[in-house]
Symmetry: C2
Subunit: 358 residues, 2 copies
DNA sequence: CTGAAAGCGCTAACAC
DNA sequence: GTGTTAGCGCTTTCAG
């Protein structure tokens, strides 16, 4: 964290601030105490609404009036200094920017943290290791309650050394180290759910366009597909599984291969591939869902909800990942596994219908 | 900020932490001083690398060794308490979640803040006024250097009362109050740029599908369109301007109307509408860009870069908004206007070509 | 029921 | 060159 600064420190010339009328220095506890004619201890007690402290109703009134008229606001830094640990939870992310998803992790973490009186201190590292170290150091210096270390796509990760000095949990990633707490999406169940959407509509020849890129998602989503098939008593046909680069172009290019094997339905590794596939299918004069049913994965809102027809898919529970991350950090839930797998809910839209000949 | 807590406060049972071996309490400055056989003042001086303090090289070494072996880490809270203001910049957003864009604002703000030694304290309010108040209060209590108040889409906003107690700047929004500092995208220039892409390719009959929803973007993008036309000496034809709900469905439904007026090119209020329009045009057997050229607005990556053909559009400078916001807050740039308009750069892809008969 | 006083970890005069 | 000391604003025994 470099430090150079030339700011004026001046306030914006906004309309007269209602509270601190002309005061340069913020109001302190002591000042409130003097104004109310009590000691700082007493003020502290009423400010913090200590249950066991018996304050005369009359005194409390006097103090509260003083607080109001002076516009007193507690200094969280001083509080923290005394208590030794702040009400901050750090969130280190490798990409808030890169993806619409990271935002949801932040959102979930923030909501849950807030609920328990914590604020989020965030650092976006965009994959820069040095920055990451610095960010963690900084959080440590601010005495954060703990750190959420998150990645924008589900993957294995190394635990940066300084992270160990804090209470931490990995979010959307996991470590090879046993015992390292983590929360990740349940890719297998997600793959099962995606396949089941199709199965439920009566499809038997279901193709799966997997990603070419190795990742827990690649393995998990395939495994889920196989499990669902097996449970439905449908033999696994390797011909129906193909691979493509996991974006629109990949999906588009996979169209030809897909059409060779007489599938009546296809489950795509992600929504972006499904989007490309839509174009490819259309060019072949095929209509969705009448000629072929499609499901995606990720529930990437901008895409899935607005394709024609809207895409049935399985959602990656990013918001829940954030929530679960802070709950685990704070030790709010019963002590289950070290790594929690979050459910990926199916979200059905209209890209699936029973096969024509069924 | 409610406060209830039952966390265990235990650390994750990770591998032995390298630094603080078994220590319950973090290492303090005083301890380093004792270990090095110097006073706390001296340690403070070397820790902060004070230029003017003359420390004997030998002493400095001794101190640095002590720091290293003890694994000392400064307590930022104590520092802040002394100095009166923290190295935090608050960022209040009404929707990190709702959109892929907000992430970019955060990203820009964080990068720039970090560059100047500040960390970001963020609060997502999702439009909840009470939460917003609380968030600002909290930031005030943590003595933030200032607050960035941002909205996920460009609009006018009211300044929440507590915000006035801080140094603040509005990001992606603005206030009716004169003097309130703000940074917003330059919609007019953006509209001009979008239109100019089409003009440059030789189009004369350029339709504009505007949004139905009132917003600075609606007015600005239209105005930019008119300016570009005028500058090109092309008379404004009201028939070529239509309105639709600003999403895929809106764009799709606008197709029929669009086709009535012999436009060879169309500029859409946003990329989502363009996406819908692509489908509509395709159903009419029209091809892009041969039969009709299309440009969007927003540069919503997932969409624009991956439509077939990839969509030429104008980017909303969210990252830059974040950067400019902290620069303005910190008073880093020359004292220009109270509200800065950020440039919206054209990003050309392949959805535009010269008109057929040209 | 309330006040006095001792710090939390660090910085900044001001001595020596 | 380096040590002493007085707080920063607050919480928390411990007296009374």
């Amino acid at each position: 964290m470099s430090s150079k600064e030339n700011g004026s420190g001046k306030r914006a010339p906004a309309a007269g601030s209602p509270r601190t009328p002309g005061r340069a220095h913020p109001v302190t506890l002591r000042e409130v105490a003097e104004a109310a004619g009590v000691s700082t201890a007493t003020v502290s007690l009423v400010v913090n609404k200590k249950k066991d402290a018996r304050i005369a109703e009359e005194t409390r009134q006097r103090v509260e009036d003083a607080i109001r008229t002076l516009g007193y606001r507690p200094n969280a830094m001083a509080k923290t200094l005394v208590s030794g640990t702040s009400r901050f939870i750090g969130l280190v992310a490798d990409g808030v920017a890169t993806t619409p998803f990271a935002g949801q992790i932040i959102h979930g973490a923030q909501d849950e943290a807030w609920k328990h009186g914590y604020a989020l201190l965030i650092a976006n590292t965009e994959g820069n290791g040095e920055l990451e170290q610095d960010a963690i150091q900084m959080m440590l210096e601010y005495k954060v309650r703990g750190i959420l270390y998150s990645t924008w796509f589900h993957r294995q990760t190394d635990i940066p050394a300084p992270l160990r000095e804090a209470d931490f949990v990995l979010v959307n990633c996991f470590s090879a180290e046993p015992g390292a707490r983590a929360v990740v999406p349940d890719e297998i169940q997600g793959g099962r759910s995606a396949t089941e959407i199709l199965l439920r509509h009566g499809h038997h020849r279901i193709a799966f366009i997997n990603a070419t890129i190795p990742a827990p998602a690649k393995d998990g989503r395939l495994l889920g597909y196989r499990e669902a098939l097996e449970e439905a008593g449908i033999p696994f046909d390797p011909e129906l599984v193909m691979e493509a680069y996991p974006d629109q172009e990949g999906g588009y290019r996979a169209t030809g291969e897909l059409l060779k094997h007489g599938a009546t339905a296809v489950y795509c590794y992600n929504d972006r591939m499904a989007m490309g596939l839509y174009d490819g299918l259309r060019e072949h004069g095929l209509s969705i869902p009448d000629d072929i049913a499609v499901v995606g994965f990720d529930n990437q809102e901008v895409i899935a909800a607005h394709l024609r027809p809207p895409l049935s898919t399985v959602a990656l529970p990013h918001y829940e990942l954030g929530v679960a991350g802070v709950r685990m950090l704070l030790g709010l839930d019963s002590p289950a596994e070290a790594v929690a797998k979050m459910h990926c809910p199916a979200v059905e839209r209209t890209s699936v219908r029973a096969p024509a000949h069924a």
